[in-house]
Amino acid sequence: MNDKSKIYWNPYFGGVMLGLLLLVTFYITGRGLGASGAAKSTVVATISKVAPEHAQESTYYSKFISDDAHPLNQWLVFEVIGILAGALLSGALSNRLKFKVEHSPKISPGRRLAFAAFGGIAFGIGSQFGRGCTSGAALSGMASLSLGGFIAMLSIFGSAYVFAYFFRKNWI
């Protein structure tokens, strides 16, 4: 099973590279990395296009709408375009580009996709309460030694460990 597509970087090497990138990001921009913010910007942009009045009246969307910039003109949106390109490049170099549903042999692809959808919805909701996800709140927050970063890390991973028992059949 040791084909090229299964060979990943040593995790400590990957971690140090990610840490150095995070350091460079702080040094240049004063802030860390993120991910869920771009999804939020996409939702805000969509709603303000489809239902502009509703978006203006909403207490949440309106926080992220301004007159001088399009809702998609956000640092994190450009960063995520980069993420997609960078991941595609890495996958191409390692022979990992393939359309497929990745799932445990014990469950059907349909079940995997259903749980991916439930998980995505939950993560979307949670990332708004948490004001950021694993990248923006937990990882970048821990790097800047913010209290919020450590709370995010402990509550995300702590809760996933607690819930892991109930979803074990999907994975092992």
Partner: protein
């Protein structure tokens, strides 16, 4: 002296160019570390693959040590580094919901983009479902606006909260990381291998 863009050393018009370049590096590192695979990510919760813990912890420590070395060397104004605000209740509840999303979906937002980029259909579904979740939150926001804004503790650091010096906190954090790396290596040997 950094940070370069907030201090005006590099013009703000470069911000989005750096965003794309930094994003490319971010996506490349995550994908190369195996973060485009939900079964690899989920391994950390079942003990068959601790890649997530190793990458996450070593990255956070590398960046934190680097930031404070830059500060000691006078290369960076640490007061201009963004410390995200803490809203205690909302942060904990958000984290718990995200943890549930993580174990059901097998991804977090950043890793789902990486999976989607290399063709994982489950990751594409997760990414779009995440937007649906954000839409649901936004529509129901008036119901939990008070909770969302409660428990505001300010933009505080963890060492100030604990009342210890930053260097002592850093030593404790590194010790915890090393202990976790060692302990998980022992656990992984005992857990039945999962082929994926």
């Amino acid at each position: 002296m950094g940070p370069l863009i907030p201090l005006g050393i590099i013009d703000a018009s470069w911000n989005n160019v750096f965003a794309i370049l930094i994003g490319i590096a971010f996506g490349f590192i995550l994908e190369s570390s195996g973060f485009s695979s939900s079964r690899k990510l989920a391994g950390v919760f079942y003990g068959y693959d601790f890649t997530v813990l190793k990458v996450f912890f070593s990255a956070a420590i590398t960046a934190a040590i680097g930031l404070y070395y830059f500060y000691y060397l006078g290369w960076i104004d640490i007061n201009m580094i963004y410390v995200n605000p803490t809203y205690l209740g909302s942060a904990i509840v958000g984290g718990i919901i995200m943890g549930l999303g993580f174990i059901m979906g097998g991804y977090c937002p950043g890793t789902s983009y990486c999976g989607a980029a290399i063709g994982k259909i489950d990751a594409i579904v997760f990414s779009f479902a995440m937007m649906a979740g954000i839409f649901v939150f936004s529509e129901f926001y008036p119901f939990f606006e008070d909770f969302y804004n409660s428990g505001f503790l300010g933009n505080i650091t963890v060492y100030d909260t604990l009342g210890i010096s930053v260097s002592l906190f850093m030593i404790i954090l590194i010790a915890i990381a090393l202990a976790a790396f060692y302990a998980t290596s022992l656990i992984q040997k005992k857990v039945k291998k999962v082929d994926y």
